[in-house]
Structure formats: structure tokens, C-alpha cells
């Protein structure tokens, strides 16, 4: 009856992790569809961006995306600390990540407000797909910030297995969103490449 003996420690990943991973598969497909649409419209167009629209600027998007992608480090560190039982370190790492990510989101909103008219989504398919892609990405960043905020509060109230699984799921979410951020950047800058 060795099949019915419980192991000392859980061998497989918890259900919550699987659920998050599968959800992220749909989100990756969502972004894949956006990238595919960008490519489709690009190869239909003669001029890309269309005449009258400047090519995308490089410096601020690259700097911002690098900052965002680097937040995977404190997020992962938070998870490692939580698994080791160190709640305060975990919360501190999460807060650090939160600050950078919120700064990123704020900067994106400012840039968006400044640039939306330059890409002319109300006149061109180019502007429409760029704005939509950046908007969907920003929404994912915002949701990630809310997830982290919730976990930071809960972990400050105490460490439980459930909350650690929640943190593992959120960490996975952030790693995928950060990877997607890099892809979004590459697609956005592709007219320059």
C-alpha cells in the first residue's frame, strides 16, 4: 500500500500554482494575438508608421522596461524569504518591487498622455494597435500591483501556507508579465529595428 503513504513534503506544485500558470497561458496567448495583429497590419502597410507619425522613441521605453523587468528579482527574493519563514523580509522585498512597479506605471501613464496624439489611434491602424497593446500591458501591470499589495498586507499579518502559495502564484505572474513587457517593448520599437 505504498501508493497510499503520504510523502513528508509535497512533491508536486500546488493547485494554486497550476491555476495561475494556466491563466498565464491565456494571457500570453492574448499578447501573442496582439503581436500577431501588429505584424499583420505592418505587412499590409506600405509605410510603417504611416506618413506623418514619428517613429517610436527608444530611450525612455527601454529604461522603463529594464526597471520593470528587474523587479522580478525582489519578487523572487520575497518568495524565497517567505518559504524560509521570514515574513518581514518578504514584505520588505514586495514593498521595494511595488515602489518600482508603481513608478513604472505612473511614468507610462505620463508618457501615454503626452504621446497618444502623436501616434493618432483615431486616424491610423498603427496608432490603434500600439495604443491597445500598451494599454493591455499597463492593465496587467496594474493588476500585478494590486496582487502584490494584497499579499504584502496578508503576509504582514502572518505567514500561512495558503499565503505562500499565493505569493508563488504572484511571483509567477510577475515573471511572465515582465517577460511580456520586454516583448511588448521589442514589438513597439520594431519600426526602428
Amino acid at each position: 500500500m505504498s501508493e497510499l503513504a503520504l510523502p513528508q513534503a509535497r512533491a508536486g506544485r500546488p493547485s494554486g500554482w497550476w491555476g495561475t500558470a494556466l491563466f498565464l497561458a491565456t494571457e500570453v496567448t492574448l499578447f501573442g494575438t496582439l503581436f500577431g495583429t501588429f505584424a499583420y497590419l505592418r505587412f499590409k502597410a506600405v509605410h510603417w508608421p504611416p506618413p506623418g507619425i514619428p517613429e517610436p522613441e527608444v530611450l525612455s521605453p527601454v529604461v522603463l522596461t529594464c526597471a520593470l523587468a528587474l523587479t522580478s528579482v525582489p519578487v523572487q527574493a520575497a518568495l524565497v524569504s517567505a518559504r524560509a519563514g521570514r515574513a518581514r523580509r518578504a514584505v520588505a522585498a514586495l514593498v521595494l518591487a511595488l515602489v518600482v512597479q508603481s513608478g513604472y506605471l505612473a511614468a507610462q501613464l505620463v508618457l501615454y498622455a503626452r504621446d497618444v496624439d502623436r501616434v493618432e489611434p483615431h486616424r491610423t491602424a498603427y496608432g490603434s494597435i500600439v495604443v491597445t497593446m500598451l494599454g493591455v500591458h499597463a492593465a496587467h501591470v496594474a493588476v500585478g500591483i494590486l496582487l502584490e499589495l494584497w499579499l504584502a498586507v496578508r503576509l504582514a499579518q502572518g505567514l500561512t501556507r495558503y499565503r505562500v502559495v499565493g505569493l508563488a502564484s504572484t511571483a509567477l505572474y510577475w515573471h511572465v508579465v515582465n517577460a511580456l513587457a520586454v516583448l511588448v517593448l521589442l514589438v513597439e520599437l520594431s519600426p526602428r529595428l
Binding site: L4, G12, S15, L22, T29, L41, H122, W150
Partner: protein, 634 residues
Amino acid sequence: MTVVDVAGARTRTDRLERIWAHRPGVTGWLTTTDHKRIGLLYLFTTLAFFVAGGVEALLIRTQLAAPNGTVLSPSSYNAVMTMHGVTMIFLFVIPMTTGAFGNYLVPLMIGARDMAFPRMNALSYWLFLASGCFLYAGLFAGSGPNAGWFDYVPLALRQYDPGANIDVYALGLIFNGMSSTAAAINFITTIFKLRAPGMSMNRMPLFCFAILAVSFSLLFALPPLTINCVFLELQRQIGFHFFDVAHGGDPLLWQYLFWIFGHPEVYIIVLPAFGIATSIIPTFAQRRMVAFPLVAIAELLVAFIGFGVFAHHMFATGLSTITLIFFAAASMLVVIPSTIQVFAWLFTVTGGRPDFKAPLLFIGGFIVFFVAGGLSGIMFAAIPFDQALTDTYFVVAHFHFIIFGAAVFPLLGGLYYWFPKVTGRMYHEGWAQASFWVTFVGTALTFFPMHIVGLLGMTRRVYTYGPGLGWSGYNLAETVGAFVLAAGLLLIAANLALSRFRGEPADADPFFGGTLEWTVPSPPPPYNFAVVPLVTSPYPNWDRADREADALRLARGDLVLDEGHETPSSTVRDARLDEILEMPSDSPWPLAVAACVALVFVMLLTRHAVVAGLAAGLTAIALCGWHLQEPEET
């Protein structure tokens, strides 16, 4: 003879009854997380939408029974024909196969006490119900979707369809998609993690393979549809440009994205039906499914290859030769996993001891229609033939043979098959067989003439037609057939409804089925399994020694898990026992979250962006409430 400690077993099952008891009354149903109750909620809701879609079908057939019909005006017809398609696909067949059958059966078939995410399961249901109400509220308010179920642009753009009709469509489908996505995540996690110890992947019931294939398909097929609808709404509501050529867009973009979703969708429709067929056949042939591993792989391959054939819906749009050739070749390739399954089913029956009770009759009908519809489908892989007959009644015949014949017939057979398990009573066999014949004849009479009238040039989505084209007689026959079909369905409903109250009592295993749901009482207790079963083959109910060993373990208290609301979790491939999970019980949060999400969509439809944002915030707060409840730390 083994002696079982009956008294010990009884105290344990009593304890399980207390732990897993539902809240009483309506509150119990509104807050339920029991997969069986959720399955029943799905069943009755999808049946209601089936009636709605059926009424729409009968209206269409009545309008088309004679030339120059005047039953429906062109605008009413367009709304009815669109809602018929949308209802049958999004509100009936997929929620019925996954939400009703999948939810009820998957945990029972894998030896679990519930789905991996019971509250998210309830959320799926409430989101589904709300999305269906959203679409129908649009219809009853006079703004029902009216550009066909695939809603091609530019016809669906504001310029040609200025009312709210298409907004109802696009937002409604995004809303509905959330329900299916949540359900897919739940099924995959449940099938991966909650199988009984010993039920390695190759011992899993074929119905569960089908649900697994469907769930992966849903995960990857729904996002293109969602994004497509988002693009459509952005263009319609705030003037972005995705689909109009003048501003750098392309109407074919809609078609590509739609069919990247739409073709996998049709396999999503039919795969669970394959799963039901592969459940019924071994039972009524009293033998294991021939070539079991081939059938399991074929189910997964159909779903996978199905993602590569989508442009065959666009053969008449002027695609390049290389594109045409690629998609025609892929469309022929996808035939092979289906033919594997058809012949596996047939040889299981011919080599067994078939008992043609009602469930097997419906599977027989299913095979007839599936092969006929599949053959006409192969014809469409011949590009010039497709380019001639697409958008005619020939293709309407093809997909109705598949959707009705191949997806609904197994559902009807499955309703009979699992009726004793769910209700504890037997249906009336004689009437069930009669209901099969009426339904079979009705289906054949409704959809077979459509092949002919399509060859005679009748195009689809026409609200009427002229005399003198040779179409009138066939259309009349189809209308008669539709009413015969409706009569057959009513017979089935009457049989099941009456048998629910007056049928002979049924025990746990009236048909000698091989899978685990037949080991539990009829109807199953809320906790499903008193003791966690140990599985050593794909047909655990035919392994009597194992089941007797289970009874002994129940008496000993070995893996009864009666300390709390518990179910075991195991490793993904080999199903070695991994941990004991504490599951949530009845909760009001799923309904609350669904209500908030519904508010978001209504506000988006009525263009109240700020209130929509506030409702989204409310949803987030409700999700926080949801996650305040945690399992006990051990």
C-alpha cells in the same frame, strides 16, 4: 469471505455526511460549491437556452417553409438567425458538455470529492448565467446581435450597424469567454492534481481525456476571440481603426482572428461528445475500448491539429495558392484522428456483446451523423468544391450533422445513461427507444435535404427565397423534419421528467459500467467517495478485488479523510498520493464577484466608463473577501 466492519464504516460515512452537508434551501443553491449541484445548475440553464435556440430554429424553419415567407421581417430574421447560432454554441452546447456533464462527472470519474477550485467553479456558472442573460436582455430590448454568429466586418461596424446590437454581441462574448476560461483552468488543474492514487494518466477515463483536450483548446482559442471583440468595440465605441482599409486596417483581420478561435471551437463542441461516446460504448459492449491509447492520443491530436486549419473558412476570400494548399492539407490531416476514433468505437461494438439500450442507440445515431457530416467536411477540404459550396445550405447541412448529430446525440444518450446515477431512478426504456427513433428521423429529415438544396444553389442566411428555383419542396420537408425533431426532444424531456418522479429505483450500477462513478450510490452523497479509491486499471469498477479492498479500508478508516472538508491530491503523471487538500465549502463570494462583473459589462454597454471602472473596483474588493477565507493550517 471477507468480513467488513459495517458499524465502523457507518460512523465514518455519517461524519462525512455532516462535514459535506449543503446549506439548506435556496441559499444552499446560491452559495453552493459542490460540483454536482453546479453541474445540475448548468444542466437546467443550458436546457433553457436550448429551448430558446430551438424556438429560434423553428421560427427560421417556419419562415423558410414556403417561398416569400412573411412570418419574420428581414431585420427580425437576421436577429433570430444570429441568436440561434450564438445561443446554441455559446449558451447551450459548450456549457452543457463542459459545465453540466464535465462538472458533474469529472471528479466522480477520477475519484475526487470536488473540483480543484470549487468556488471558481461556482463563479464559472454565475458568469455563464449572467452572460446569457446579458445577450438575451439585448435581444428583448430590440438590440439583439444581428450580423450572423460570426459577425463579419464591415457589416458589424457602426457605419452599417449603428445600434447597440453588435456591442451586445462583442461584450457578451467577452463576458461568456471569462466563464469558459475559468472552467478550463479548473478542469485541467483537477485532472492533473486530483486523480485518485494509482490513476496514472494512461488509466484515466477517455471522457476525462476529452475534457482535458477541450480545456486546453479553450485556453488557447478564446484569447483571439476576446481580442477580436475588443478591437471591434474599440473601433465601434471610440473610433479606433482595425478593420477599415482607408485607415490602414483590414476586414480580413476580423476573419483570421475569428476563425483562429472558431475552428478550435467546433472541436471544443464535439470532443466532449466523443468522450461521452467512449464512456457509453465500453459499458454497453461490455468490453474495454479497442486501441485505448490510440483513442486517447487521437482526442488530444484533434484539438491540437484543429488549431492549424482555420483558414479553410476563408477559401473564397482570394487567398494565395500556397495558403490554400497549406490549410487544405491540414484540414485533411485532422480527419485522421477522427477516423481512428470512429473505427475504434465500431470495432469495440462489433467485437463485444452489444446491448442496444437507449444510450447505445443514441451513440449509433451519433456515428451515422458524424460519419456523414465528416464526409461532407472532407469534401470541403477539396478547395474548388469548397469555393463553390461554402456559404450555401450544403455547409449548413454539414455543420448541423456534426453539431446536432455528432455533438447533441451523445448528449442525449448521456442524459439517459447517467440519469440513474444522478437521480437514483431508471428512465423508461421503451419510451427512450421511441424517442431515439423520432429524434433520428427528425434530424435526418431536417438536415439531409439541405445538402441537396445547397447543390441547387440556395445560399445561407437568406430570410426568404423565390419560387421556381426548385428549393420549395426541400425547404418544406426540412421544416416538417424540424418539428418532428422537436417532438423527439420533447419525448426525451417528458421521459426524463416523469421518470424523475415515477421511475423504478436504480442502484449504484444499473449498466455495469467500468468507471468510478458507478462505484458510488445513486444519487451520489455530497462527499462522493467514502474512502479514497485505489486505482489499478482504466476500468476500476470492473476490478472487483480493488473495490473490495476499498471497502475494507473504509472500515479501517484508511484514507477516509473525515477530519475536514478534504480530498487527496496526487502527482501529475503517475498519481502518487501527494497531500491532503482542505476544500472550501458553500460561499457567497462567487455570486458576488459574478454580479460585480455583470455590472462592469452592463456599464460598458451603456457607455458609462467611470461606473464600469468603479464596478471593476468592487470586483477587486469582492475578490479580497473571497481570499480572506483560508484553509486551516495543519
